[in-house]
Structure formats: structure tokens, C-alpha cells
Amino acid sequence: MSFGARFLRHPERFPERQRGDAWGDRELRLDLPGGPYQLLGLSASQEDGVLATFPAAGAVPGGAFAAGAMGATGDPPVPIQLLRCTPDEFLPVDVRGWDYGLDFDWSPAAVKMAGLGLFGRLDWRPGGVGMGGLAGALWIHEDGGERFPGVFENFLRVLVAYRLLELGGAVLHSAGVVRDGAAFLFLGRSGAGKTTAARLSLARGAEVLSDDLNALVIGAKGGAGGCVVLKLPFTGDLGERRALRPPLPLGGLLRLAQDSADALAPLSRAETLACLLACAPFVNVDPHRRERLEQVLLALAAAAAPRAYTLRFSLSGGFWSIIDRITLS
């Protein structure tokens, strides 16, 4: 099936540039990893929806992601335009029993995407606005409302993944858990047990960053060879979207395997790289950015490998005693 044909009535009319009618004149700055991100052209309802869902500028004095994290203070913001489209531009989709995924079309200077109630594009403009010239445009037909934050988030997840890749980091399918001031990432795709491991950790008094997506970057300082974990507002069932968190040193990378008993086995560098590649959504299927992705993940794997393990875990929640024994030794 060709790009967009699952969602768009006329995929052949997909916009070739970031132009269209704005929803309104509101602007908002999002203080997320890789940012700041400057939202342009929002309506008042859309602004309310974003503010209710995501951490916005000013929520943390000095910014949540200052020194040592991705998107250092002073970077020009990555612009995101919100543009109008109409409901009849989308095909009706029966989503019962369906595993939702966006459609992508990649090229060296752009990524196009289409999904339920949205189409958008990322463009890299040499010398353009934003570091590296990355700019996003999102066409939606929702003027705020209940579904708007979710539709916007689907676009934002992709944008942040590409932005962090540009900066030498990675968004990872993972559950991030904080224990004793360090962040542990439970890695795995859907069904691997990320939320289960996060729930078991929560029951043991740990804090959950997100049970779906977290970011791993090389920080100015941090644990495990300098890797730091950045909280993202992209959660599944667990994690507080609007809560901001400074970068945390990486305590461990834990590739999940469900089992009847708990055990921890070190991952080799190759296994660590493979795990990171498999868990880097959106960018790991882009044929034009694979060199960059592999370069970034190799560096992350080398830095994180001393604290990378396969975690075989049971529902007893006893795995933390094993993790503590090894990672604190």
C-alpha cells in the first residue's frame, strides 16, 4: 500500500511544503528533551489542550533540561506549525483489533507522516530556523477537544525522536524507573513486560518516569560512562506526563525477558547495540538516517554496556534485590 493510502482520501495531494492556514495566533514553547519546541498557529482551545497535557516553558525555572542534557539552553527553538485541514481529507478507518502505526515516507531532507486525524512533515532546511534546520508542520482537523492532545502527541513523539537523534541521543521504547537517584531503563517492545516491570517497581517504592518512551543521551556527566536518562511526557499507563525531571544518571539498561524466576545476565556490546536498535522507534526504519542512528547507538552502547543486562523477571517483584546487588557493587 502506498504512503498515506490507509488514512488519506487523496494521498497524492500530500503537501510538498510546510504551508497552510494556521488555526490561530497562539504560540507556546514546550520544554522537552531536544527542545525547546515552539508551537505556532494554535487556537485557544489547542493551547489549552497542550498546556493540560505537556510541560510548557516556565514551569521549571531555568528550564528542566539545562546543562548536560539535550537541547541546551540558548538553542533556537524547533518550530512546529499547526495547520488546518478538514475531516473529509481522511478516510474512515475501522480500528477494532488494530495495532495503530503511522505511515511514513522518508527522503534525505524530509519525513512525511500520516495517521488517524493527522498528517505532517519534518523538514531539514540547511541554515534554516532551529539547530540543524529541523522544522515540523502538523495538519489536523481538531480544534482542541478530547482527541486533540493524543493526535498532537503522535506527531510530537516522532519529532522528538528525530530531534534527539540529530543531537546524538535516542528515544527508546522502555519503562524508566528511578531508584536511589539513578534511572533504570527496562527495554522491550510491546508485550515485553515494560509496564509490568514498572508496576512491580512502583510497588517497591520506585518512581516511574514513563512506561513507554524515555530518552537516553550522553550527558556532560552521569553514571554508566556518562549516559543520562531524560524523562519524556510520552507515557502508557504509568508515569506523570506533566512532571518535569532533571536528567538522571543511568543506573542500568535492562532488556526484559519474562520468566518464572528472576535473574540478571550481562549483555555484550553487540547485544546492547542490537537491543537499542530494536527499541528506537520511528528512526530505526528510516533508510536515510540509518548511518546516523547506528553511529549514535554505537556510542550509547559503548557507554552503557558496563551496566547493560538481560533481566529475566517473574511477577514476584524480587528482581530489584538482584539488580541492587549487581549495580550497587
Binding site: 555484550s268 553487540a270 536498535l277 526504519v285 540509518r290 547506528e294
Partner: protein, 112 residues
């Protein structure tokens, strides 16, 4: 009937990339978003699948590297080759199509 024999020429599919880290191979099948880790022998075999030399030449090469009887090696290499074909990592190439564009021929060490 098994379509792969020692005369077969196998090449890595165009969307397959691999590199060696320490002694292990990391294999990416990008179109499916799949990633595998192969041990040193698996990595060596994947490196030999250059789209040019038939399987029998791989066996000749490996006989110089491992202490194993030829029939045993032949059986194991063929079984592994079939598995790699079934997993979509390798594909059989007709002799007339050897090393055409789109079939990776890079050696281990770099993403090939």
C-alpha cells in the same frame, strides 16, 4: 527438495546490514525493524555470503579456520544458510545475477 545446496550463491538482502562488534555480529533487517545478534561462527558465515562465492567456497574457507570434518561442516553450514534465507537475511542469487547492485558485499567490521 531443499533449494539451497553447496553450489548455491547467496547474498545478503538489500535491507540487511551487519557489523562485527568484538566477536559478535549485529544484523539489522531494516524493512522489518528486526535486529539479531549472531555468534562468531554465524557472523563469519554471514560475512562470507558476498553474493559471489558459492557455499562450497565458504566451506573451504571455514575448514581452514575450524577443526571440523568436512561432512559435519557442510551439514551445519547448509542448515544455517537455509535458516538465514528463511529469516529473510540471505537470498539465493542465480549465477547470472552475482554481485549486482542491491546485494551487499561488504565485509565484517563496517555496516555492510
Amino acid at each position: 527438495m531443499n533449494p539451497i545446496d553447496i553450489g548455491s550463491v547467496l547474498g545478503r538482502r538489500a535491507d540487511v546490514r551487519f557489523r562485527v562488534i568484538d566477536t559478535e555480529g549485529v544484523v539489522v533487517r531494516q524493512s522489518a525493524g528486526e535486529v539479531l545478534v549472531l555468534n562468531d561462527i554465524g557472523t563469519r558465515i554471514l560475512a562470507l555470503a558476498d553474493g559471489v562465492t558459492p557455499v562450497t567456497h565458504w566451506i573451504d574457507t571455514l575448514l581452514g579456520e575450524f577443526e571440523v570434518a568436512r561432512p559435519v561442516l557442510e551439514r551445519d553450514v547448509l542448515a544455517f544458510a537455509v535458516e538465514l534465507v528463511e529469516q529473510g537475511l540471505l537470498e539465493p542469487l542465480p549465477a547470472s545475477r552475482r554481485l549486482q547492485d542491491g546485494h551487499a558485499a561488504g565485509g565484517p567490521g563496517d555496516w555492510g
